[in-house]
Each structure stands twice: as C-alpha cells, then as structure tokens.
C-alpha cells in the first residue's frame, strides 16, 4: 500500500496488506467462491445477499484478538448459512450434523490419506484391516 507505514496502519486501526492474495486460508476462498457460484446459478439477486451479509456484519462485529480476515469470513460464512436457509436449500441443523460427520471422517482417516465423508461411518484400513477375500471365521456344520 503506497506511502502507508505500519505505524499509519496501527493509528487507523486497519490491518496492513500488500497487493497479494486476499485469503489467509483455503476454506476462505472456498466459502467466498461457493457464494458467488450459487449467485451465478441464478438463485437470488446480489442485493439480497448484500442485505443478509450487511446485517450479519452489523450483528456480529469483530471479536477481541480476531484477525480482519477471520472476522470477515466468519461473517461471510454465517450470512451464507442464513442465505441458503432462507432459500430453503439446507438448514443450520443439517449443516451441524454434516460438520460433525466430517469431523468424525477426519478422525477415522489415517494420517496422510485423503479424507472422505464415507470414513465417518466406515473407517478405512482401521487397525491394519486388510481386505479379506475369505471368511475370517467359520463355524463348521455339525453332523452331515
């Protein structure tokens, strides 16, 4: 930012950045792009989104110690949840439930392996489980 020193930024209370990337973390780009993607599919008018987003910004300002991008994308994501709920696409309970499934999927996935939602209920290769092409136990028929 031309002519603006770190002290200037502190004086105004503005976080400093250069002309580089505007996302701190990949999920922020994901959340941002998903909203634009939904908009492009014609589900709502941009002004409706701006209204929901503006209200969220007003209702939940920056928390102590939160970075500007963390604040912004927290507000963005919360507003996005409200927007999809108001459009009847999916509700907060569904999102919470699915989020906990994803958490379980991470926990069930061995380090270094790709995380899939299915791992939430069916852990891959758990405790060295190799696929068995024959029964692991047989109870022989009696008599015969």
């Amino acid at each position: 930012m031309s002519g603006m020193t770190r002290n200037d930024c502190e004086a105004i209370g503005l976080p400093k950045d250069d002309e580089g990337p505007v996302f701190d973390k990949p999920w922020q780009a994901q959340a941002f792009s998903m909203m634009v993607h939904l908009y492009q599919s014609g589900l709502f008018a941009w002004r409706d989104w701006v209204q929901v987003f503006s209200e969220e910004i007003k209702a939940s300002p920056a928390l102590p110690g939160e970075s500007a991008n963390d604040t912004y994308y927290r507000q963005w994501t919360a507003a996005m949840e409200k927007m999809v709920a108001s459009l009847g696409l999916t509700g907060a309970d569904d999102i919470s439930h699915r989020a906990s499934q994803w958490r379980q999927a991470y926990l069930n996935t061995p380090h270094g392996h790709p995380v899939a939602l299915a791992h939430a209920s069916c852990p891959p290769m758990h405790h060295g489980h190799a696929p068995h092409r024959s029964p692991v136990a047989v109870s022989p028929a009696i008599g015969g």
Partner: protein, 206 residues
C-alpha cells in the same frame, strides 16, 4: 497433545472450515454445486483477478482521450471493451480525479467492490474502521494512508452498493508524455483506483 506422534488419524480442521465443507457437500448432493465450476472460480479469485485489469483501463484512458470519454460516459461498456466484466462489475461508474477534486470509494455496509477490475478488496477496505471513518473524516483517513489532500481540493467519498461500483480514474502523473499504455499501466496502483493512494511517479517506475 501427542498428536504429532499419532499417525492413526487426521487432525480435523477448525469448526468453521468443517461447516463450509459440510455446506458444500450438502449442496453438492442436491446438485446445486458444480465441482468443476466451483474449482474454476476458486482458482480465478485466488490467482487470476487483481488490480491489473483496472490498471489497463486507467492507462488506456490516460493515453486515449476518446476512450476516456467513453469510460466516463458508460464505464461498464468501456471496461467491457477490454474484455473485462463479471460478478460485481455489472454496473460501473468511473469518477475522475482532477486538479480540484479527489475521489475515494468505500462500501459503508459491507465490502462492495469492483472485482473484475480490482480483484478482491484489501483487508482494510473490509474493516469496520475504514468503512465508518472514511465518511466521517475523509481527509484525516487519507492522511493516515500517507495522502495529504490540499485544503483547496474537494474530497468526494463514494459509497459502493450491491448495484453500483466505482473506480477512481487518478490524474496522469507528470513527466509521462509519449509513454505507451503498457508503461503507464505500471504506474497505476490498486490504492490509486480506490482513492486512498496516488499512481507511482515516473521515477519509481521499473
């Protein structure tokens, strides 16, 4: 926390990331998200759009008086002439800095910003202090950006909205007679098109 020694699981990300992932997978199942289109958007916003498109517009306006007239009369169409358009660029207004007027843009409600020409907004543009203070005390805030506006110059603050976004056309730096559009574009900074900065001087050019 012995997680670094435990390779039997993958550490879950923070809650908000899980919720974004959850929403994406729910919408995907409903056929509301096209994964390829979403990936392309992410790639675009992460890597491909930025203030260079705006710089091309400004440089062309400096070099070509007829283009400048078209730009000030119908910015959306003039910008589209350079192949630049898209979400949050559907209705553009270019405001011209002159010897008597300095323009600066803000979105007081959230962060409306001309993405196709400037990329995504800088962090400070989205922050509450900028959004409120630039309206209350424009000269003071600009001074904090290192930009002192002469007392006899008018400062105009433009509030972007969901419908209309602004681009500031800065004054062409002195000492650039005969420069090509490509050379001129090198002088155009993002902040000079928001109005919180000025173009680089020819001495700073690479």
């Amino acid at each position: 926390m012995n997680h670094e020694h435990d390779h039997d699981h993958t550490e879950p990300p923070e809650e908000i990331e899980l919720r974004v992932k959850a929403l994406e997978s729910l919408l995907l199942e409903k056929g509301l998200v096209d994964p390829a289109a979403l990936e392309a958007l992410i790639d675009t916003y992460e890597h491909k759009i930025g203030p260079r498109n705006g710089a091309r517009v400004v440089a062309k306006a400096w070099a070509d008086p007829l283009y400048k007239r078209r730009l000030l009369e119908n910015a959306t169409a003039a910008i589209a002439e350079l192949g630049v358009s898209g979400v949050q660029g559907e209705d553009m207004l270019v405001v011209e800095n002159t010897a008597d007027i300095h323009n600066v843009t803000v979105c007081t409600l959230c962060s409306c910003y001309p993405w196709p020409t400037l990329g995504l907004p800088p962090i400070w543009y989205k922050s509450a202090p900028y959004r409120s203070r630039i309206v209350i005390d424009p000269r003071g805030v600009l001074a904090e950006f290192g930009l002192t506006i002469a007392a006899d110059k008018e400062v105009r603050v433009w509030d972007s909205s969901a419908e209309l976004r602004y681009l500031v056309l800065p004054e062409r730096p002195a000492g650039t007679d005969g420069w090509s559009e490509e050379q001129l574009a090198e002088l155009v900074t993002r902040d000079s098109m928001i109005g919180t900065g000025l173009p680089k001087s020819p001495d700073d050019a690479p």
